[in-house]
């Protein structure tokens, strides 16, 4: 069934988009990440202009995250206080990111920056995560992961210490705010929720219990993607509501299944799987950057399309 997307100005197969949304939604529910790091490249691949892919993706992530959070909320797996502190930094980062996106687009380097950020951040984070989770799996169940979290570093000497009872943490509020800020930047520039960065950052830097990480990161992502979607729609008119709704319908259904399966996975298993998926995307993009492109020339229309 072909359907015309009014903003992307493109005719697509509605079933294909529903399936894309469903598949990515499943992963999103499974790992507690938004799945934008998969969806944005896929949308660009099927011919959606990059600007529209990023803008629309932000909008659909809002819905997917709401649906994901509900499942975690019922299991009481959301630390609202920590989420709000992260959000304070996250909103600033998102606003700055939307501005940088427009700037890079005008300079003709947006594709390069998106690819490089993917390779750099996804590659590094996923490699570290894979290493750690494989190690945890090999060490076996006897190893209590909690004991490792409380080694003291300079991070614990930062000011504005705050108590987060739900996560049983007493840390500087600057830490979650900074993490939020950085991920907010990436939300706007890369069209991703930032979950793949948030999840490890919350586990390794903040030392949060793994069970709370997925729900809390999704909670924060609702708002950062919401801000990004709003700014992209107002500033660049790049949110295609038809595309967003199609992705959402597939995405929310997939996410519900993902969350159920995710509940059965052990923390390190889920992390290893996520790391593998992310690493695969990073490697693919790295290869694309290094291999000589088929056509050295590309064209850009002024609208960014």
């Amino acid at each position: 069934m072909q359907i015309y997307l009014p903003i992307a100005e493109l005719s697509v197969n509605a079933l294909l988009i529903l399936m894309l949304g469903g598949g990515v939604g499943f992963l999103s529910g499974l790992f507690g990440v938004g799945g934008g790091f998969l969806m944005t490249p896929l949308l660009i691949f099927i011919g959606v202009p990059p600007a529209v892919a990023v803008g629309t993706q932000a909008n659909q992530l809002v819905g997917a995250s709401v649906s994901g959070v509900l499942a975690h909320w019922r299991r009481n797996n959301v630390d609202v206080k920590l989420g709000l502190v992260m959000l304070s930094g996250g909103s600033l980062g998102t606003a700055l990111g939307v501005w940088i996106f427009a700037l890079l687009q005008a300079l003709g380097h947006i594709d390069l920056v998106i690819s490089l950020s993917y390779v750099l951040f996804l590659g590094t984070v996923s490699s570290l995560m894979l290493w750690e989770s494989l190690g945890a799996m090999l060490r076996g169940r006897s190893m209590a992961s909690r004991s490792k979290l409380h080694h003291h570093t300079w991070l614990h000497g930062l000011p504005f210490k705050m108590r987060f009872p739900r996560s049983r943490l007493y840390i500087s509020a600057l830490l979650p705010a900074l993490i939020g800020f950085f991920c907010g930047l990436l939300v706007a520039i890369m069209g991703i929720g930032g979950g793949f960065l948030l999840v490890p950052a919350m586990i390794y830097i903040l030392g949060m219990p793994t069970a709370l990480v997925a729900g809390t990161s999704l909670f924060q992502i609702i708002f950062t993607t919401g801000i990004a979607a709003f700014l992209q729609a107002v500033g660049n008119q790049t949110v295609d509501i038809m595309l967003a709704l199609l992705l959402l319908v597939g995405g929310v259904v997939g996410a519900q299944f993902g969350t159920r399966v995710g509940a059965k996975l052990r923390g390190e298993q889920a992390r290893a799987l996520l790391a593998l998926v992310v690493l695969a995307v990073a490697v693919k993009l790295a290869v694309d950057l290094i291999v000589r492109p088929e056509d050295l020339f590309s064209i850009t229309l002024p609208g960014g399309a």
Binding site: Q256, L289, R292, L301
Partner: protein, 255 residues
Amino acid sequence: MMRARHLLALPAGLLAGFMLLLALRADAWGQSLVADLSSHLIAITTGFTGTDVVLFGAVDGEGDVAVVVQGPEGEVTVRHKDRVAGIWINTDEIAFARVPAFYTVSLSSPLDGVVPPAVLQRHEIGLDYIRLAPTKKTDDAEKLAEYRAALIRNKQRMGLYTTEPGEVSFLGQRLFRTRIYFPANVPTGTYTASVFLIRDGDVVSAQTTPLLVSKIGFSANVTEFAQRQSVFYAVLSIMLAVTAGWLAGIIFRKS
């Protein structure tokens, strides 16, 4: 696709009748060329998957016919990648002014060697002769040609420029017709269909007909809403997303 076929299945008799009328008119008014389109409006609706438009006409005698359809013009930047520190980066660019977003040419017979390049250039008949001027003057003719070729190549890949000239077929001596395909990603705007009658290596008669490509109905409303009331659109789209997510959560809780 169904719609496109339907349009083409337009009773052949009716079309022939039209063409006969045109032929008569051409004689009566002393015009050597008359042509028209089967439709002057391409409506992009929610189910749009591309469409065909038939151009038909009559000439008053021997000659070749060339049909050029051009889309709305705009600035296009062509960028060139080079390997820098192991990765491919855009290093150079040339912006071209007034580039047609869409371009097709159809011929009744090949014109190369028959018509002097200067004539083809003047009327922009054929991909080699489209007027593509850089926004900033450049003296490097070789570089300009390379970027120009790249622009055309990229447009062809998007299906917006013809790769091979289409065919203008003659029915008898005087009536001709050709079919122009507009793909699903055709840009909206005002197009022109120009018909040229060529005799002895020169254009002896020409006619230009406008053609409008426009979003109609739901997709037009969405676009207009997104552009005119972007704040409201932004809020509404986010609310839709939240509602959809919420609903899915509720539905799945009960099951």
